[in-house]
């Protein structure tokens, strides 16, 4: 690599110290004079090559990459929208609400398909299906389920194998989990039946896909439902113990989105970063060299959750209350 980036471990003003991040790294440009602050829910490793190629083009910038959960992003950003230049999150609903509430800056002239952007301010750059991930050992001699219906049958057929060995997002904590759950519920009643079955067998609830995959690998759990396909596939390549299943009855595909804060300190640089990100992710050439899944070009976003104000529906307090109540009563059974 032609440039050097390093983690700076020095004292920052109190407010940054006061906040705890899942991860926080500074990528130093070779000739840095300004620092772009990116608030993100995506693990640093996925973004490293993107930031690296960006800094190669713009050595006068440094990038401070801050990682935290989606719900936290929403809270922290709403409190201080001027502290962050770019916000990247997998929770489309929260992102859309931020853009709807005027927190996103409009970027003119970005050539991006209509379905992958909203108001020229919120831009999608990945297509990532929710997946069923299983521990292969638990399905030894059995066919892997291909649909939710088949999963329900498999669970019912061998309840002893699966009791206490199921996992899914805790939708109360995880923004992405809530998004997947609500979209599933919207698509089909099968979701509720699956939740009931999973609830009856005892299900562990997780905050993040990573933890779920870890537990799958070592056999703590046998089936995880609604795991982020991109993370699981990445693990599958190095770990033969797990299998990733994209349910063929109906896909739930999330798009990671990013926007420039309306009160960004460096709006031009932030816009450049977002443009760079979009062009990398839409470029079929860079498909294999980047760890993040690209924005699917074939389906024209048909199967993906639509970027539209309807995403606000399940963020509504009353709706959320009702949904969570129902969800809890289905999955957390005594």
């Amino acid at each position: 690599m032609r440039y050097l980036f390093s983690v700076i471990l020095c004292l920052w003003p109190l407010w940054t110290m006061a906040q705890d991040w899942e991860d926080r790294q500074v990528f130093q440009g070779t000739d840095a004079s300004r620092t772009l602050r990116i608030l993100s829910s995506t693990d640093t490793s996925f973004f490293e090559p993107i930031i690296a190629s960006f800094l190669a083009k713009t050595p006068e910038l440094s990038v401070e990459y801050l990682v935290i959960g989606t719900a936290e992003i929403d809270q922290r950003f709403r409190q201080a929208p001027d502290r962050y230049d770019v916000v990247i999150s997998s929770a489309m609903d929260l992102q859309l609400k931020l853009a709807n509430d005027g927190f996103a800056r409009r970027l003119g002239g970005v050539a991006h398909p209509d379905w992958a952007q909203w108001r020229e301010s919120l831009f999608a750059f990945t297509s990532e299906p929710a997946a069923i991930v299983v521990n292969r050992a638990a399905f030894e001699g059995q066919a892997l389920p291909r649909t939710r219906q088949e999963l329900i049958q498999a669970l019912r057929a061998r309840p002893d194998v699966f009791r206490g060995r199921l996992g899914t997002y805790d939708v109360r904590d995880s923004g992405l989990g809530y998004l997947f759950a609500t979209q599933d519920a919207r698509a089909s009643e099968t979701y509720w039946r699956l939740m009931e079955v999973m609830g009856s067998l005892g299900t562990r609830l997780y905050c993040c896909s990573g933890d779920m995959i870890d537990d799958l690998s070592d056999g703590t759990i046998a089936v995880a439902y609604n795991v982020l396909g991109s993370y699981a596939s990445a693990r599958q390549q190095t770990d033969g113990r797990i299998a990733v299943i994209l349910p063929s009855d109906f896909p739930t595909t999330m798009m990671r989105t990013g926007f420039v804060s309306s009160q960004a300190q460096h709006p031009q640089d932030a816009a450049r970063f977002v443009r760079h990100l979009i062009s990398l992710q839409s470029d079929p050439v860079s498909k294999d060299s980047l760890p993040l899944p690209p924005l699917s070009t074939d389906s024209a976003g048909q199967s993906a959750i639509a970027l539209e104000p309807a995403l606000l529906t399940y963020l509504d307090g009353l709706k959320r209350q009702t949904f969570i109540k129902e969800w809890v009563s289905a999955i957390v059974q005594p």
Binding site: N100, D101, E308, P309, A310, L312, T313
Partner: protein
Amino acid sequence: MTEGVQVSGSLRTRLAITLTGGAAVLAVLLFIVVRNYAAQIAQQGQDSILSASVTSILDAAVIRDGVVEIDFPYASFSMLSTPMDDRIFYAIYQDDTLLSGYGDLPRTSGTATRAYQGSPVRLVTASRVLIGANVRTRISVTVAQTQDALSGTLSRISRNVALFGAGFFALATLLSIWATATTIEPLKRLTTSVTRRGPQDLSPVAKPVPLEMVPLVASLNSLMARLGQSLKQSEDFIAEAAHRVRTPLATVRSYAEATLQRVDREENRQALRSMIRAIDESSRAAGQLLDHAMITFRADHLERDDLDLVDLLRELVLRLTPVAEMKDIDLHLQADGPVIINGDPILLQNALRNLIDNALKYAPGESVITIRVDAQPRVQVEIRDQGPGFPPDEIDGLTGRFSRGRNAAGTIGSGLGLTIAQDVAAAHGGTLALSNLPEGGACVTFSL
């Protein structure tokens, strides 16, 4: 042609301004009306979708165990998607407490447009009373949407309507130019037909004219008729007068001549000669006047005939030979062959007689008068004599009525000969040109 006429504006301009001005006003009116109408319809469209959204939320409201639950459908908001990605806001109130949504959204009733978060939003509010086991509560829902798509639609409509209006205006202008031209056309045609007329042509306008021009043309016709009438009357009068004068004069002259034979005293003879001369003078004048009046009258309606000009001149020469011989003048007619023309023989004869008569009168004795007839390049008769020629300073005015040259002092004449010749030439569409020959002598060119 137009001098002496007072001009007050132009019919064409007035008509054009009225028409194009009217078109402009119509175009602007069209723009305003269509735009407003479109704005209204577009706004109605947005309002009805917002109302549908509000209704679908209200419909989902239920009281369960005394608590309000509103499990509104996904469609409540997805129906609000627009191509311009308009932002949406909503607020749900139970009586006066916010249940969920945007608490700072302005509370309105019915439909309204307000500014919210820096941009104009359209708000639709409706409410519904829920009755539970022992509660009675009012749920009111407001859904609001920015107006980007609406204003996009409106500006597109405005642009189209503006283009349409401009096109309409351009077309109307072209049409008004055309209409003005066609309206003015008959007037122009009348003008040219009146302008093109010969000075003697007082016949009524015969071509059909538009209804509106009938009074004008009718009074023009009647004016010309009266003018023609009075002209003819005065011509008749002159002819009659000349005739009446000539006959008694001839009688008086014959008496005077007879008396001259009998009178011996020189002074009496002198007086008688002066008397005869005066009589000749008067009779010549009367004759010429008569001819002139006849020519003026006939110029309007020539009695044309095919005739040989050479033939006509030969006859004339024959008739004038006696007079020429008295002065020992040789009349010489030159022609290469017959020259056939279409003309009024009486008038032509009269004109040419006057010209030859002049040559005889003003050229000295024992000279030659050459009369040359040419058919090419145009038909013309040239009469040359060997006299003193026209006085150069007077040559331009000699064709005028009663105009005589300095050299004519001793000769009898009225000054109408050249006038007659010129009028005849003009009546046939020709000209009369006077010049002096370099070797001396006058040259009159009568061309047709």
